[in-house]
């Protein structure tokens, strides 16, 4: 299972706790994880990435294993520790004041 940590506002929206677990079929990439999030929690469509272009929203970041993956290609494999469920994949609201 892939572990995903969502920011507080999205947890409220999806009515979930700090961490969710997802069954992600096939290669585990940022795109496949985000697809799985949106399939399981359709109310999050458009909140992490644009619903049409699928581009990451500009004030959302992706972290895992102490790395910033925000600018990695969406179809690049995620770190092995994320794939094995040892480390979570973090969806983070960028620090921008407020």
């Amino acid at each position: 299972m892939i572990r995903v940590v969502l920011p507080a506002h999205l947890r409220t929206l999806a009515r979930v706790g700090r961490e969710i677990e997802l069954d992600v079929p096939g290669p585990v990439t940022q795109q496949s994880v985000l697809d799985a999030i949106e399939a399981q929690y359709p109310m999050l469509r458009g909140t992490i990435r644009d619903a049409t272009t699928l581009r990451r929203r500009s004030l959302v970041r992706f972290f895992a294993c102490q790395q910033d993956l925000s600018h990695e290609p969406p179809d690049a494999p995620l770190p092995e520790a994320v794939v094995k469920g040892i480390e979570p994949y973090l969806v983070v609201g960028a620090m921008a004041g407020g």
């Binding site: 506002h9 409220t12 109310m43 458009g46 049409t52 921008a96």
Partner: protein
């Protein structure tokens, strides 16, 4: 027992204020959607328990929420606001062309004839309609064909903020955009006309009398006289007696004719309300005195309403969707401020009381009259 429900949208959540017909004791419920910007909430006239809310965030974008139990519980509905086809470009602040980009929903207007139909005015300016209770949205894109390339953002963005449905003619809708002006459809939203004759904007437009480009801040109408429209423009208060075909200024003796909201009394179609603001660069009341101005003659002659409002050291703003009226026998007037106060008057504006004082900055106020 009759009463009122005041729907308040703020920069950090929504609040619902309820009272009986005396409007002296208030129950405050909220924040709903804590931490999110709630640009607007509005209830259906056909089913008052159905309320729509626009929930947005600079981080996570636009969400739409619907309640079918008067705001006790909410369900997310559709948030896909895709423009029809290639949306093209509009004018940017510097006069160059800029791509059309959806940012947020500013205003929601439930249909007067079908509880599942609701209109949404968005930034970058466009009008959308849902016929399934907000689950899906379709753009009425004929609007942007009216010289959309000449529309430009005001200081708050290029927002479609006013939607007026004609109670006698379901095919007639009037909308307003900052800064494009006012527009009307007479065929249910397929084709649109600019209705800006008589508007004069010498400090904002190279052609002060252009047919599009004016910064209209708000328009209001009394349902018994849908051809009479009242407008608060960037500068100037105006009225039209022919559904917007021609406007004339009624600023009269106002201390300043800059402002944002304009409202019409529920039972007196010639009684209107504005909140004068010092200027476009100083968004607070003149002289630090928060004064609502009332005209009982449809404009030109105005009186200051001050009883209960701060008359010194007050430097809040009142935004365009932040004033509303109830329909009780003694008409109630309500407005919210960027300082987080919501003031109410149960007697047409003669006396005012703060219902709440310390909310986040108020973006919108709507009222439901409950029977």
């Amino acid at each position: 027992m009759s009463g009122v429900r005041v729907l308040v949208g703020t920069r950090k959540g929504a609040f619902i204020l309820t009272s009986d017909e005396k409007r002296q004791k208030w129950d405050v419920c909220g924040p709903h959607f804590a931490g999110w910007e709630i640009y607007h909430l509005k209830g259906s006239a056909l089913n008052p328990d159905r309320i729509y809310a626009s929930q947005s965030s600079g981080w996570f974008g636009q969400m739409m929420q619907r309640s079918d139990d008067a705001g006790k519980t909410w369900e997310p509905v559709g948030n896909d606001f895709g423009y029809n086809g290639d949306p093209g470009t509009h004018m940017w602040y510097d006069g160059t062309q800029h791509p059309w980009e959806f940012k947020r929903v500013w205003h929601l207007e439930p249909s007067l004839s079908d509880a599942d139909t609701v209109y949404a005015g968005v930034e970058d300016a466009a009008l959308f309609r849902s016929t399934d209770g907000g689950q899906s949205w379709t753009e009425l894109s004929g609007l942007r064909e009216v010289k959309g390339h000449l529309w430009q953002p005001g200081a708050g963005g290029m927002c479609l903020h006013t939607i007026i449905l004609d109670p006698n003619n379901p095919n007639r809708i009037v909308i307003a955009i900052s800064a494009a002006g006012a527009f009307r459809t007479d065929d249910g939203g397929t084709t649109w006309l600019p209705i800006n004759k008589g508007l004069h904007s010498p400090y904002e437009l190279p052609d002060p009398d252009a047919d599009v480009g004016h910064c209209v801040h708000n328009i209001s109408m009394h349902p018994s006289r849908p051809n009479v429209l009242f407008m608060q423009k960037h500068w100037d208060v105006l009225r039209s007696d022919n559904a917007g075909d021609m406007w004339h200024e009624v600023s009269g003796n106002l201390p300043t004719d800059f402002g944002f909201p304009i409202a019409v009394h529920a039972h007196e179609p010639e009684t209107i309300y504005v909140v004068p603001i010092k200027s476009d660069s100083e968004h607070y009341p003149p002289d630090g005195k928060l004064r609502v101005y009332r005209s009982r003659s449809g404009g030109n002659e105005w009186e200051a309403l001050t009883n209960g409002l701060p008359q010194s050291d007050c430097y809040v703003n009142v935004l365009r969707d932040s004033m509303a009226v109830d329909k009780l026998d003694s008409c109630g007037i309500y407005f919210g401020t960027t300082g987080g106060q919501v003031y109410g008057s149960p007697d047409s504006g003669d006396t005012w009381t703060p219902i709440v004082r310390d909310l986040p900055p108020v973006v919108s106020v709507e009222v439901q009259t409950l029977s």
